[in-house]
């Protein structure tokens, strides 16, 4: 396993979004990122009654397809995600696991009947990716509303928080990451 993070589009995802995610992780954490070929739209996870995709099933699929030489495997999709008990999720990650998935569907201002705003969308995407990456390393939700690990149950939470971990979560992130890198190289 290398110290590379793989970003995987599911369905069609704009290249600038994927590039921005990669750049954000590289810049903030010094981790190399690569963008893998896209996966097909996850028909297997579609729930007709809800008109949404079961994120847990997607996650299971990702675990099966996860490349061996990657530290973390993060999927990005435009489809609307849910877990059976909740109406929707912005993303889902295996806690201390290799895989995570984020949805852009509810990050777009248009979802809230607002005009498109590429900067706002990018900021939301970055925050959501960093949040799920944190979970995949082992971090749980933070009580600080400004921290990127604060639980976003509404888009307003995402907009309020910063694109950074609070000092404590940052320390934890580094600790988990070091642990992860050591085990990756042994």
């Amino acid at each position: 396993m290398s110290n590379c993070i793989t970003i995987c589009p599911i369905g069609v995802v704009e290249e600038d979004i994927l590039g921005r995610i990669a750049k954000c992780i590289e810049k903030r954490h010094g981790l190399m990122c690569k963008i893998s070929p896209r996966m097909e739209k996850p028909k297997y996870a579609y729930d007709e009654r809800r008109g949404q995709y079961d994120s847990k099933l997607i996650l299971k699929h990702l675990i099966k397809c996860c490349p061996q030489d990657t530290l973390r495997f993060i999927a990005v999709t435009h489809v609307d995600l849910y877990v059976p008990i909740l109406k929707f999720v912005f993303g889902l990650a295996q806690i201390e696991g290799q895989c995570a998935v984020i949805s852009i569907h509810r990050l777009r201002p248009q979802f809230y009947n607002l005009p498109p705003d590429p900067d706002l969308l990018m900021a939301r995407v970055e925050k959501t990716v960093l949040h799920e990456l944190g979970h995949s390393l082992g971090l749980t939700h933070c009580r600080d509303r400004r921290c990127v690990m604060y639980s976003s149950t509404r888009i307003e939470d995402t907009d309020f928080k910063r694109s950074d971990y609070c000092p404590t979560c940052f320390e934890l992130f580094r600790w988990y990451l070091d642990k992860c890198l050591i085990s990756a190289h042994t």
């Binding site: 847990k56 877990v83 059976p84 008990i85 909740l86 149950t153 509404r154």
Partner: protein
């Protein structure tokens, strides 16, 4: 809650259980899963949770029955019902039966997070309340009812053993020994501590007033009863009623009281309706109730009802080793109330307090300290600040030998009788010659003071 809140998810659908677990784990909750009500009840035998998320519709034992059985095993756990849109009425029913709230599946992420945070906050508040009350109860033991003497340690021991029970307690002791504080400590350490503690000074009220105070009355029950009024028994429902000076109540009130103690129900004055009450009775008296029974002033059956457990508070003269602690506490309390810098007590003044007999007990000591702080001019309480005459001071501060006590006593009587030997001899119940002999023996001279 400093530990991670622990949550049990009970749902027959694996996908619901699992997704809820994943979601809750992101919030760092410790999550257990049960696939049925039966499984949850079986798990509850050796595990407890802060919150249970319970599905309402399950095959076999449904959510309502599961909740009712879980509440018996782990009553402190809060239950959040989960329901499909069509069964909201049942969910409302569940709330009436003790569920904290309900959530309609699938939840809004915001909603579930808010509900759980609400329960955690609620439980933190309950815990804080318990801790505060415990702290308060400990304070009762160490601050308000102060005593390191063996006699008081025995009282504390009794309080801690008696408090968690529902037994009636008769607290006896001289006036001013702090019987109400003992009653408050029993209540504060009991399972009823969240409920009211109502004190009634039976001796302070005329019989008719005491009757309406205790049992309440209906509008128009007597002239002046313009509105219905709950009595102290009803006010103390599920809590504790402290009946002080129980030895002073009339025989009529004794009968009424006995009826309530036996039947746990009462009828308000002017009413036909029977009201059930669940009240723990603590009673206190400074009278000798055994003697009152012999003199037919107190009913023996009531005495035995009240005297299930008795606690005797010793008089201060029998626990003088507690005086320095009490003095320190009263100085601090009074200085705080007077917004005054805490002062010390001079050893000579403390010595005086230690030898005094304290017929008014702790209450008298508290009054003496308060008075000394009001009239005292220096930064410490000195003998002159205490309300004892100079002769008394000498009497109490001098040697405790019998000879010295006799000398001081004769001096005092001579002074009081202005050295009229005949009067002093009469007062001392000795003849004049014996008095002359003692004056010579002790070399007492006039004006020696």
């Amino acid at each position: 809650m400093t530990k991670r809140p622990r949550i049990l998810v009970v749902d027959d659908e694996a996908a619901m259980r699992e997704s809820l677990k994943d979601w809750l784990m992101e919030d760092d909750y410790e999550v257990d899963l049960a696939a049925s009500g039966e499984d949850a009840i079986s798990m509850a035998r050796d595990t407890s949770w802060d919150i249970i998320l319970l599905d309402l519709k399950m095959p076999g034992m449904d959510g309502l029955e599961t909740m009712s059985r879980l509440k018996k095993v782990i009553p402190e756990t809060e239950i959040l019902m989960m329901t499909a849109y069509g069964s909201i009425d049942t969910a409302v029913q569940a709330m009436k039966e003790g569920a904290f709230d309900y959530l309609v599946k699938p939840f809004d992420p915001d909603e579930i997070e808010m509900q759980i945070k609400k329960i955690v906050a609620h439980k933190e508040l309950v815990l804080e309340n318990i801790l505060l009350r415990r702290e308060l109860a400990e304070r009762h033991q160490y601050d308000e009812i102060i005593g390191k003497s063996d006699a008081m340690q025995e009282v504390f021991n009794l309080i801690s053993r008696v408090a968690p029970t529902d037994s009636t307690v008769l607290i006896t002791g001289e006036s001013g020994t702090g019987k109400e504080l003992i009653a408050q400590a029993i209540h504060g350490n009991s399972n009823r501590c969240y409920m009211p503690f109502i004190a009634v000074s039976c001796g302070a009220l005329p019989d008719s007033l005491l009757e309406s105070e205790l049992f309440g009355y209906e509008k128009g029950a007597f002239t002046g009863a313009e509105n219905s009024k709950k009595g102290r028994f009803e006010m103390a429902n599920e809590g504790t009623l402290f009946l002080d000076e129980i030895g002073d109540i009339s025989l009529k009130t004794q009968i009424d009281l006995l009826r309530i103690l036996q039947q746990k129900e009462l009828i308000r004055l002017g009413s036909e309706k029977v009201v059930r009450v669940d009240v723990r009775i603590l009673a206190a008296t400074n009278r000798d109730l055994q003697k009152a029974i012999k003199e037919n002033r107190f009913r023996e059956d009531l005495y035995y009802r009240l005297n299930v457990i008795s606690i005797h508070v010793p008089p201060l003269r029998d626990r003088k080793e507690d005086i320095p602690l009490l003095v320190k506490a009263f100085i601090e309390k009074s200085c705080l109330e007077m917004n005054k810098e805490v002062v010390k007590i001079a050893p000579s003044a403390l010595k005086l307090l230690m030898v005094y007999n304290w017929p008014g007990n702790v209450r008298e000591l508290e009054n003496v300290i308060e008075r000394a702080l009001v009239i005292g001019l220096s930064k410490e309480i000195v003998p002159e600040d205490l309300p004892f005459s100079r002769k008394e001071m000498e009497l109490y501060t001098s040697s405790k030998s019998l000879k010295m006590m006799e000398k001081l006593h004769i001096e005092r009587i001579l002074d009081e009788s202005d050295w009229n030997i005949s009067r002093a001899a009469r007062e001392l119940d000795i003849d004049r010659q014996t008095l002359y002999n003692k004056i010579e023996k002790y070399q007492i001279t006039r004006g020696q003071d």
